[in-house]
Structure formats: C-alpha cells, structure tokens
Amino acid sequence: MSFQLTSKDYVTYIKQAAQLIAENKEYISDLDAATGDGDHWANINMGFEKLVSNEDELSVLSVGDMFKKIGMLMMATIGGSSGVLYGSAYIAGAKVLSGQEYIDDQNLCTVLEAMVTAIMQRGNAQPGFKTMIDALYPAVETYKDGLEIGLDTKQILENVKKASIEGAESTKDMEAVKGRACYQANKGIGHLDPGAVTMSYQIKTLIEYILGKLQ
C-alpha cells in the first residue's frame, strides 16, 4: 500500500487538526494553567486559524513551498518559543520536500525526522524534557523501526499514531527541564505537557487522514 498527499490534501489535514485543537480549548488551557503561562492553546489555535484562512494560497503551492509558507505563518502568528519551534520544524521539512511532487510513503518519515531534529536543535532540548518533542520523537522512531523491519504501511502508520499518543501521555510523570514549568517547585510532575498533547493531536489527525486515503 502507498499514499500520495498533494498540498491540497495536506491543507485538508491542517483544517481537521485545526478543528480538533479548537474543540479542546478548555482541556488544553486547563493543562497549561497547571504548568505554564496559560496561553498555549490561544497561541497554537491562532496559528492554525491563520493557516486555515490561508488555505487557498497554500493549496496551490508545491509541497516544499507550502511547508515553508506554513513555517513562516506559524512563526509570525504563534510567536514566542512555540512559534519559532514550529517554524523551524516546517522549514526543515520544506528542505526535504524541495523539488518533490508529493508527500508520500517514500519521504514522510524523512520529513518528520527532519522536523523533530529541527525542534530539538533549535530548542536545545531532548526527549524526556516534558515538551512537544515527547509526542513527536517516539512517533518518528517508530516510523523508522517499522520501515526497517518491513512492516506494511498501514501497520506502520497505526504504530506511529499510537507512539505519539503514548508519548504525550508519558509527559505526565516527567520533570520539566525547559520552559515555564521548570520554575515550579514540582517541575510540573503529575500534569501532561500541553505542547506534547497538541503535537499528538496533529500526528493523530495526520495519520488518520492518511489511513483514510489508503483505504
């Protein structure tokens, strides 16, 4: 089984992710109120709203140019650390996709790996720091493992989705090393990291969208 996503497809995924983020306003805001500034939901929601409002322009770009444009829009709209981290991720993904016609089963893993590497380098952070990386890094590792042992695409994608959700869940027991939560006495232990949760929403939505296209 294989898949090919055009820019128009990816924008469809963006709209679905935007909707899931929008629906979880209270949940994400509550998580953030416990550990952070309380503004994560508002910022990321604003970023996704901005992407959706630019859907016509994004849909007609090549996949590489679309990724770059998404990165620029997210940086300018989300602001702060999240904005530049998402921006870095998408621009790293754009470099992988440069000259490619589709996002497909041949390049998606490489794109996601470039994205998580960019976030880790830019944020000077590692898995286990109680950040969005904890929802993306295990997904990428699972993807690579699946390709290496030759699982079929559907199985790989399902594993990736599961790894991302479990990765976000795992932040509950972690001590924050970066960001606002690390200045708290208990370092945010006992609370999910809101950035990891919104990241897992994106991975989950993307994978479900691709699974829908497979069948």
Binding site: M72, A76, G80, S81, V84, G87, I91, R122
Partner: protein, 329 residues
Amino acid sequence: MKKIINNPQDVVTEMLQGMVKAHPDLVYFKENEVIARKNKTKKVGIVSGGGSGHEPAHAGYVGKGMLDAAVAGNVFASPSPDRIIKGIEEANTGEGVLLVIKNYSGDIMNFSMAKDLAEMDDIRVETVVVKDDVAVKDSTYSTGRRGIAGTVFVHKVAGAKAEQGASLDEVKAVAEKVIANVRSMGMAMTPCILPGVGKANFVLDENEIEIGMGIHGEPGVERSNIKTAAEIAEILLDKILSDFDYSNSEIAIMVNGLGATPLMELYILNNEVEKILTQKGIKIYKTYVGNFMTALEMSGCSLTLLKLDEELKELIDAPCNTPALKGGE
C-alpha cells in the same frame, strides 16, 4: 500605572514612529518593527534587536559607525524571525550581515531561525552572542550568562570595524574579542511596570536593593539594605574583578542607568568607580555615563568594564553618529 502612552498594545509601534520623526536619517518599517539607516553604503551589515523596554537599545544605536538595522520585539519579548529577516535584508549590501544577539533563550531561537531563513535566500549571516552579566550562571530566560549593557560596546566596535570596510569574518572576530573581554554587573532598587501588565513585576521593600538583578527583573544574587554609592561601586567591581583579570589593563567603562536613576547618581557612582579602579592600577581609557541599556522605569544601574588593546581603542574612538551615541568626529 502612570505612563505617557495611549493603548498598551501600541507602545512599540508608536515609540518607533516617534523616533523616526526625531531622527529623519532613520527609516521605520511598521510591518516588521524594524528601524534602519536611510543612507546605505556597501559594507558588512550589523543588525541587533530584542525585546523592547531597554531603550535606547537597540534602535537608538542605528546610524553611522554602529548598527545598520535594529529589530524590536514586544516589551521584553523577542522579535519573531519574520521581523528579523527584514532587518537582515535592510542591512545587507552583499557583504554579509552580523547579528548581535543578547543571550536570552527566546532571542537565540528567533535570531538563529532568521539566520537560517536568510541563508536560504543566499544572504551570508554570522552571529555573536553577548553574555557579559557576571551576576548569575543561568537565569529565568537564559541558559548561561545574560547579555546586558556590554552589548553596546559590541555594537560600537563591530560597527566601527564594518565602517572601515572589513570583511564579515573580521567584523565577527572583533565582536568576539569584545565579548571575551567585557564583563558587567548590575543592581536594582525599584521594579518596572510592563505597559501590558500594569503592575510591578517584583517587589522590593522601601530600603531594599537587589544585587545582580537582570534587566527584566530576573532574580539576582542577594537582597540587602540600601547602601552608599561607594559601597555599591565596591560590590559591583568586586564581582566583576573576581571574574576577569583587568589588572594592568587599559579599559573602557560604562556606568549605565536602568531608566529611573538620575544622572546625578550615575556620576556619583562613576566618581567612586574611578577611585577604586585607579587605586588598583587599572587605567581608564574611556568612560561612558548614561542610560544605554535600560529596563523601563526600573531604578538602579549596571557597571561594564571592557579591556582594550590597540585595535579596540581605535574602534572605540572611531566616529559614530546615532541617536544615542555620537562622537569621534
């Protein structure tokens, strides 16, 4: 909150609009909150920036012999890469651009992202990170030492070097030399009020001061009762001199006000600083007293020492003409 403002949302834009009206040789790009020189010459471009609230840093240092562009973030918040890119584009004349960054996590991320984007557009960009504050090892917004008033010496020296026609590598090297030889230490007496927040960002008692406080109100090293100018000079110098060996050196010093401290007090402090340095046999080549790197209306000061060699002396003395620093002509 008592401030001469309109809407707190508009303080950065309206400040920069007011600034270009006072300094017509500067140009303002509202979309990106960038101030740049109107008249460009072909040379290495120097760009700095960061959160607003530290005026005259950084837009006040745009002009001949210092910066080519300054990028403003919101109050105490880093500018985003799309703004910084505009600053880079305005400063670029084909010889490459040096970014002078203060060591705060947000600034590092946003400026390094902007560097990557500029390089995708084939503009050569190098960065230097200023971390002159000896007060604390790590801080609320930084990994490693914070960048404070010593940054102004980097602007001055790198700007002068670029004006001489040096290459990007040479300009970066001399900026690194300043960073290696500059140390600062500050103290605060009253907090500051962010326009968008409306109340003080920390509390100090009537007679209390905090040694080593950062320019955003980040914690310092100790709180104590108010001291004399002589004692404050001694405390700040002790910390600096125990970190870096300035003995038998020629130095430039900067006695910097944080915003609400009168020049009278800064000169009194300078008088004490000079006595101690002279007694220790450290030769003062040049002295700057004034408000160079502020923290809104915080009262307090910082003291910066820069060890000079012949090259740095020449560049410190070189002409500059900016809203906040002029001389040498």
